[in-house]
Each structure stands twice: as structure tokens, then as C-alpha cells.
Subunit: 126 residues, 2 copies
DNA sequence: CCTCCTTTTAGAATTGTTCTAAAAAGAGTA
DNA sequence: TACTCTTTTTAGAACAATTCTAAAAGGAGG
């Protein structure tokens, strides 16, 4: 059994959902203090390949890893930078139906204000 | 009049559509041999801000610049790496209508096999 | 204990982009 | 032409997330 791989998966599963590599690294390091970032990347790739997690690439260069491997959409909060799940129905079907070219796959990131920030104190009430 | 900015815009407008910064750099350099990559980025940002062109960020880290500033979708050919336009109807409206969260904007890149590659010699006919 | 294969480590390398500070270029005024 | 002010350009360093490389460590089976 691969302990460190399991620990990385555990950390992700115990999180609210979507973490970046460096945050995973920081958390796993508490249990394995001499772990190195490359190990995190190694195992995240392996876990992604094996279908345990999902790798979400963003245009900002900071990728997220999702504990839920089944396909669904994501949104980035423009206020706090958190990645959250978005429900868009069967978007893949819609895209394949409407597109004038074959759609093998796609990368989509919505930009939103997440519920936490919307309820928060960042509204311009003077 | 800003000559180099105009030259960069010209190069983009004379292209088939979507270029990366380093390709623009290579082309403009033929006319201004001592130009520097930072100047290309400076002017691409300025042209984007002024609405002349469009900046398309990809998850692969290699951004494209589009001579057509009006909103439309894009697809990346998995075979040749070219970025092409895609017609998906009014996707923005569809997303806003279906999403369970506010949609301020979005980044979408389809993955496809472009017509050129589809007609080409890369089909596995033995 | 040996051998083989996988995982991990340490640190350098990569890549596209951004930043910084100094030099150069223009525009307007006298 | 000379002076000032602002914008643009240059050169090269810095950055940040990720990937790579080669060596070391670990574990399983015989």
C-alpha cells in the first residue's frame, strides 16, 4: 500500500472540495514533514490517471484538484479565489449538439461571486 | 502615432486569426529587428484594453491573441495545436440561464480536431 | 541477504509572462 | 534649437507553477 498517495487522497477528501497543489502539500506535510512538492505532483497525477480525483486546469496557472472525479462544471469566485461546483445541466450534450465542429472535450471555468462572498461583508453598503 | 503598436495590430490582422505572443514577436521582428518581447506584451495588453483585439487564456499557459474582439468561442485542435473559432450560438445566455450561480464571465476552450487536420493525412488508413 | 521495481527526494530546469529601472523617443512650448 | 513632460521601448532579471532528472530509499519476493 502506498501510504503517501493515500494520505494525499485523504487530505483532499477531508477538504471542502477543491485544493491547489501547494495547499495539499502544506496539509500533507503535517503528517510527513519531509515530503517534497514533487511527490505531491507525482501522486496527484497518479490519482488522476487512476480516476480517483480530477485535475482542473485554470487559465491563471494555478490548477485545482477535485475530490469528485465525475464530470461537472466549476466556477472561480472573483472575490475570494475559491473554486466551487456549478450545476449547468448536461452541458457536454449541449455543446456537442450546438457546435459546428467536433467536441472531444472542453475546459470551462465560470467566474462568479460565490455564496459565501455574496452573504459576506464585501457589499458596498456605506 | 504609435508605430510599433500599429505594426503588432497589423501582423495580427494579416494573420489567419489567432497567434501566440512569441509568433507575433517573430513576425514583427522582421520589420523592427531590435524589438523585444516585452514590447509585444506591452502593446498586446494596450490593444486588448482598448478593445482592438482579444486575449484568450488557455490552461496550457500559452495564450492566444485574436484579431476579432467581439465575443465568440474557441477550440484548440488536439492534433496541430491551432486555435480556431467555434460557433455555439449564444452560449453566454445559455450559461446564465442554466447556472445555479451568477455567471459574470467564463473561460471556455473546446478541444477538437480542426477541419485541416480532419482532411489531412493523419487518419489511420493503413 | 539479493535483486528488482517503485516511490521519494533534492534541486535544477522549464515556460510563458510580468516587472523594474534606465534609456530613448515624441509632443508641445518657447 | 532647447527644454520639459510624458509615453514607449529596451535589456535583463524575476516570477510562479509545474516538470524533469538522477540519485537514494523503500518494499516485495525468492
Amino acid at each position: 500500500m502506498v501510504q503517501k498517495r493515500a494520505a494525499i487522497l485523504e487530505v483532499l477528501r477531508n477538504s471542502q472540495g477543491h485544493l491547489q497543489a501547494d495547499e495539499i502539500f502544506r496539509r500533507v506535510k503535517q503528517y510527513y514533514p519531509n515530503m517534497v512538492l514533487a511527490t505531491v505532483y507525482n501522486n496527484l497525477h497518479a490519482l488522476t490517471n487512476d480516476g480517483y480525483i480530477r485535475h482542473i486546469k485554470t487559465a491563471t496557472g494555478a490548477d485545482f484538484y477535485d475530490k469528485t472525479p465525475t464530470p461537472h462544471e466549476h466556477a472561480l469566485c472573483v472575490n475570494c479565489g475559491k473554486l466551487i461546483d456549478a450545476d449547468l445541466g448536461d452541458l457536454a450534450a449541449h455543446l456537442r449538439e450546438r457546435a459546428d465542429i467536433p467536441v472531444l472535450s472542453y475546459d470551462l471555468i465560470l467566474h462568479t461571486v460565490c455564496p459565501d462572498c455574496d452573504n459576506g461583508c464585501d457589499q458596498n453598503n456605506t
